[in-house]
Subunit: 458 residues, 2 copies
């Protein structure tokens, strides 16, 4: 019997996770990973830190080196582009760096093609000093703009996670930075009250923040770019970075006849199976099962890509694992602050049929008497009638353990806990690191009080 052949298209988080898991469970499986560029298993989330100077050497962004990946038993075809999937002959048509075409036969296929940057309808996006940030090559281009072409000012379109990370990176590099967000507040994935705290933080670092404005055109004027938009927006800068989100890269899958689902992502079941036989998908190209919705959504996050890849890899070698689902748990560092969320905010909860109540609480990250205590801003969203926890958002000092503190409600959400149940968990405490009731528990008790009061009033 020949060993079964697993082909994986994509060498980023989902693809490599899948390859590693498949090889771990079945050392006889033949795993080939097609990597479009020369950078398999690189931490794309690390690009802002490379550009900001925190990471001096781009090579250190690799989650694992080539040797480690090869030692795990996978074959990596670098700079190989998959051109077509042929489900009937169970093969993938690909070209190598020289353009030579070849076919690769699979028994099982995992599509992990990731996402591509969304390009908003702005005139002048083709100009050479207008950049996106999604690949290692993009990062090198941006770095070249600063280091070799001497860009001294930049306008960042989009104040989401990556936008804010890049704002910080550019400030670290000494550039004059403007950021433009079409919504009324920055980081629109959290409530505006929290986004406002981040706005203060970046404004204090000298950043020119423009919200409620849409960039409409970019025009070359000598060596500079003139950026114009709604609400009278006009700025002249050396560089424009467009980071307004991503969309699933599904050309291959669609071309092969795979069904697409929510937001155009590849439709998958919880076993990460597509509609094509023996073809799985994972990561930013695919839908993700949402733990509260009990249905598909699109949440392109590295954590999810790793988990989905692991499930796809397991199932591609005969496993029967179900992906447990996402909650959109995420965190971002913005200068001295950290902002995190998990689960639903008010509007999302309402859309899902809940009767949400969101309560804001401020509580210290550790006992106030111990040096360097910082107040955290916590927003808990729960269902008014059932008391079920639906989501939490936290903004606080970067040393306030915000990232691991959001994990408390993230797990509580996974087990469908009520807000009140948060207070029953036996969490750790010592004055330098916490409080006898953790800040999240203080907020939970606050939510319950306000909920009770709102019911009495109703």
């Amino acid at each position: 019997m020949t060993a079964s052949r697993l082909v994986i298209i994509g060498g980023s988080d989902a693809g490599i996770s899948a390859a590693l898991r498949a090889r771990e469970l079945d050392p006889a499986v033949d795993v080939t990973v097609l990597v479009a560029d020369a950078y398999p298993n690189f931490s794309i989330c690390g690009l802002p830190y490379l550009l900001g100077g925190d990471v001096p050497d781009w090579r250190s962004l690799a989650h694992r080196g080539m040797e480690e990946l090869r030692a795990a038993g996978m074959e990596l075809l670098l700079e190989h582009t998959a051109c077509a999937i042929q489900p009937d002959s169970k093969s993938v048509v690909m070209t190598d760096a020289t353009g030579r075409e070849a076919e690769l036969v699979y028994d099982r296929l995992i599509i992990a093609t990731g996402a591509t940057p969304v390009l908003p309808p702005i005139e002048g996006l083709h100009l050479p000093a207008v950049r996106v940030l999604h690949t290692m090559q993009d990062a090198f281009s941006v770095r070249e703009m600063i280091e070799d072409r001497g860009a001294e000012s930049v306008l960042v379109v989009g104040a989401g996670y990556v936008g804010l990370e890049m704002v910080e990176a550019f400030v670290s590099r000494g550039l004059d930075v403007t950021v433009v967000e079409q919504f009324d507040e920055i980081l629109p994935t959290v409530d505006p009250e929290l986004g406002g705290l981040l706005r203060t933080e970046i404004t204090n670092h000298g950043v020119d923040v423009v919200t409620g404005a849409r960039v409409e055109s970019i025009e070359q004027k000598g060596r500079a770019l003139v950026v114009r938009g709604t609400s009278g927006l006009e700025r002249t800068v050396d560089l424009v970075l467009v980071v307004v989100g991503v969309k699933p890269d599904t050309d291959l899958a669609f071309g092969a006849g795979a069904k697409l689902g929510i937001k155009g992502a590849i439709e998958v079941d919880r076993r990460m199976r597509t509609s094509l036989p023996d073809v799985f998908a994972a990561g930013d190209c695919a839908e993700t099962y949402h733990r509260i919705l009990h249905g598909p959504t699109y949440l392109p996050l590295g954590t999810t890509a790793h988990k989905q890849g692991r499930v796809a890899g397991e199932n591609a070698v005969g496993g029967g694992k179900a992906f447990e689902g996402s909650l959109g748990t995420q965190v971002v560092k913005v200068f001295e602050l950290a902002a995190a969320r998990t689960g639903f905010r008010d509007a999302e909860a309402e859309a899902a049929g809940f009767d949400p109540l969101t309560v804001r609480t401020r509580a210290f990250d550790h006992k106030a008497y111990y040096p360097n205590a910082h107040e955290l801003d916590i927003r808990i969203t729960g269902d008014r009638m059932t008391g079920r926890l639906l989501g939490v958002q936290i903004v606080g000092h970067r040393e306030g353990q915000v990232a691991k503190r959001i994990d408390i409600p993230a797990i509580a959400l996974a087990v469908k806990a009520t807000v009140e149940r948060l207070s029953t968990f036996d969490l750790s405490y010592t004055p330098p690191f916490g409080s006898p009731w953790d800040a999240v528990q203080v907020a939970a008790q606050d939510w319950t009080r306000k909920r009770d009061a709102s019911l009495v009033g109703a």
Copy 2:
């Protein structure tokens, strides 16, 4: 109808939590709290930081001020000592600071008398320069020894949580510090491999560490104390601090006929009811329900005291809440390190009837390419056959979010998760604060691999 009278003996964590919760739920209840000293609701866990100088003013150790407590509607009788509980007449006999006796009638009573320091069988414990650390007054005495009597060297008996915190405090004060632990490694509440990391840390700070030795005698010699013990131990110091743990303070309860349970703590059910009618107990004087054991244990911790007090307060005004239970989750800061645990270690798991396997993993607190990444030492204990998670221990840098990271398995334990399930939780990630798989998830995957290998080998 007269308002019901709730009397609470004890003004520390459990007593005040109970009073606050009772008043919150029933604004008509008459709450009187007997406080033995003049320091209600003080953070006893903060004493080492007061003595080390991190907390300049002792007043700031109050969780809440007198005004706040009184505004919540409780009457505080300071420097009032409860002498006897009379269950038949439902009254408490007490004396005030002047020795005047009085009786206080209750409808419901909560005993929250806390614990008292264990005094090991050492000759010379009565000497004036031999101290314990359990009350504000104790802290003032120790401070006086240093500031007014010029103690320059100290020997700490016991290298548990408080012992290590005091070692750090004394080093901060510039004292020569020796610590003596009768077990073979310091912090014997974690595995010796982790205790060894802490030993290196305190040794690097100039502390003289003696393990596997028992102090037998302390002798006054001029202004100094000569401390002698097994294994040839002999040290001459100015001050000795004995911190080898606590035992439940149950004299009152026992005198009134309440049943005592495990380790002599007041027997309580999950509603915090003692064997006496209308008498509840909470905090360090009482047993605690263990979430894995499904039975009582004794774990005197501030977090537990707060939770039990809250339940007792709720039930004392007619509620029917069950205490959800403890896992012994705890964390301690030791210079630049943090050490945390939750749930069982090997021997405890075995005693509870499990077939435990403990696996050690080292994983970074955040992406290694981002500055100041530190490796965490993680030990996961799980049941070999069922894969059930039983406990986790972590030692790592104090900036490694160890305190909130141990909360991940603490919640997983509360929901009886398997080790494998840890990997399915949607935890937060950004390179400065974490990894796509959190360190705890990396350790969980490692555990599963080693478990599988051990089953194949079996």
